[in-house]
Symmetry: C2
Subunit: 286 residues, 2 copies
């Protein structure tokens, strides 16, 4: 076998290009690449858009797969449509993170959302996704979207009683995203929401980051009246099964909102089913 | 990097042992190994039991992960408990395949099952699992279990109107398992079932083997009055999301049977939720 390092994250193995995701000590996933579409170092992280054989185009930050054309819609639909099927009249929505633009793309399918604030720290991720990852971002061209390119942690400290829904679409709790998993941040999110507001965040893998998942639940439970977890299957995330945590001040019931029904994973049956937790996830919540 | 081949499937990379699952062309998963517990070549396949860092002990056939202590219960619970929550009085159950003994372990949790026939072609897989993979097999020591160690395809040709439930717990449709995905085999399964019998089979990944999943559905739909697909998440299977196909001559409704409730994934909410299919799976079934 002839192996050569093409860049920090890409190897040439016997003439084939491979991304080796090796942030975990004991489990590595390798994706065969057709072409390196975009690569850059931003002030915050290393950014790549790759064209892969099995997953189409793929956004990779610091060597970790974030979103792909083949399965990115699952995560993005599930973090966006679930809260929008609970809040009955959201006008002002905030997304923190979500640089692939996929969650924002889903939110704007609801015509009654009047303003979508999009607070992503790294402008270059958004630019790369809008230009090179159109299968996920769809170019995201809508006049209701206000781009902020700011630090979500700082932004949350400065806003009170303002949003109907806040979607925390963070990367893993390492490096810049660590604070997005802490109680102080959630407290500021709580305060930035209106009296009937609700929030959702990704809360990591029930298999590999159980502690993060549980901590998220317990932190939000200290603040909000109604906290529930739900799951979706994201093939390119370790373990496949992924958890989300929904925290609401007032609304709990599912509604049937009017929206552009062009989803590929989400539907009403999945909405209900996603809150059914496997026994190993459910036991300590009972 | 210093890399050395320890065996056909195991590499020593910089002093660490790794199983590299490379049966797919464009996606490879590598598992770090603590210890090689068992390795043998049977008349049918290469068999290993490995102790891994992330997934505990692991059964590997021809280099492909079949079952692990960490997540094997998910697949086994979902292939066993779902049919047993539909057939109201199964006395005679047959498992074809399922050499890790995990599905059989779940079936015997139902005391009203009087006989469990276990038709696995490779006796050595069963012996290795009973001895070295007790986290999955639990040793499988129950007087109702009749071991056959025979070819499931041939066995199905020779039995008519005999079983209440048949569980087809096969490996992937390559090599010896190919025929277990063909119409002629399903026809024989149909005939081996009693007039109110039902069957379930694993029908591969909705992401990576969509054609197999759809073919299974359509083949069984030609034979049985009621065919439905359901899903579970198995972290060590490619894509995480896995499909099962249930085909019944008579019974459709869920029942609440009496059984030993020691499951780790399955519960009544999951039973219902598992039949909610993501939009991309559901559309062509509507």
């Amino acid at each position: 076998m002839n192996e050569e390092k093409v860049s920090q994250y890409i190897k040439n193995i016997d003439g084939e290009l491979w991304l080796v995701e090796d942030d975990r000590d004991n489990l590595k996933v390798s994706y065969r690449i057709k072409e390196i579409i975009f690569t850059a170092q931003s002030p915050f992280q290393h950014i790549m858009v790759l064209d892969t054989y099995d997953f189409g185009r793929m956004l990779v930050l610091d060597g970790v797969v974030q979103s792909t054309e083949k399965d990115g819609y699952i995560y993005n639909e599930m973090i966006a449509h679930v809260p929008l099927h609970i809040h009955p009249h959201p006008k002002k929505v905030l997304i923190i993170g979500g640089g692939d633009c996929g969650a924002a793309r889903e939110v704007i399918k609801y015509k009654h959302v009047e303003e979508l604030y999009f607070c992503e720290i790294d402008e270059l991720v958004v630019r790369a996704s809008k230009e090179h990852l159109t299968g996920v971002s769809a170019g995201l061209d809508d006049q209701r979207v206000h781009y902020l390119f700011a630090d979500g942690i700082q932004y949350m400290k400065e806003h009170k009683n303002e949003f109907d829904i806040i979607i925390v679409d963070s990367s893993d709790p390492v490096g810049p995203a660590t604070e997005l998993f802490e109680f102080d941040f959630y407290k500021n999110v709580f305060e930035a929401l209106k009296d009937d507001g609700l929030m959702v965040c990704q809360s990591e893998s029930p298999f590999f980051y159980r502690e993060t998942m549980d901590n998220t639940y317990h932190s939000l439970n200290r603040l909000f009246g109604h906290v529930k977890q739900y799951t979706a299957v994201v093939p390119t995330y370790p373990g496949g099964l992924w958890s989300f945590t929904l925290a609401s001040k007032k609304y709990q019931a599912f509604i049937q909102p009017d929206y552009e029904k062009t989803t590929k994973y989400f539907n009403e049956e999945i909405l209900h089913a996603s809150f059914a937790l496997p026994e190993f996830m459910a036991t300590d919540k009972k």
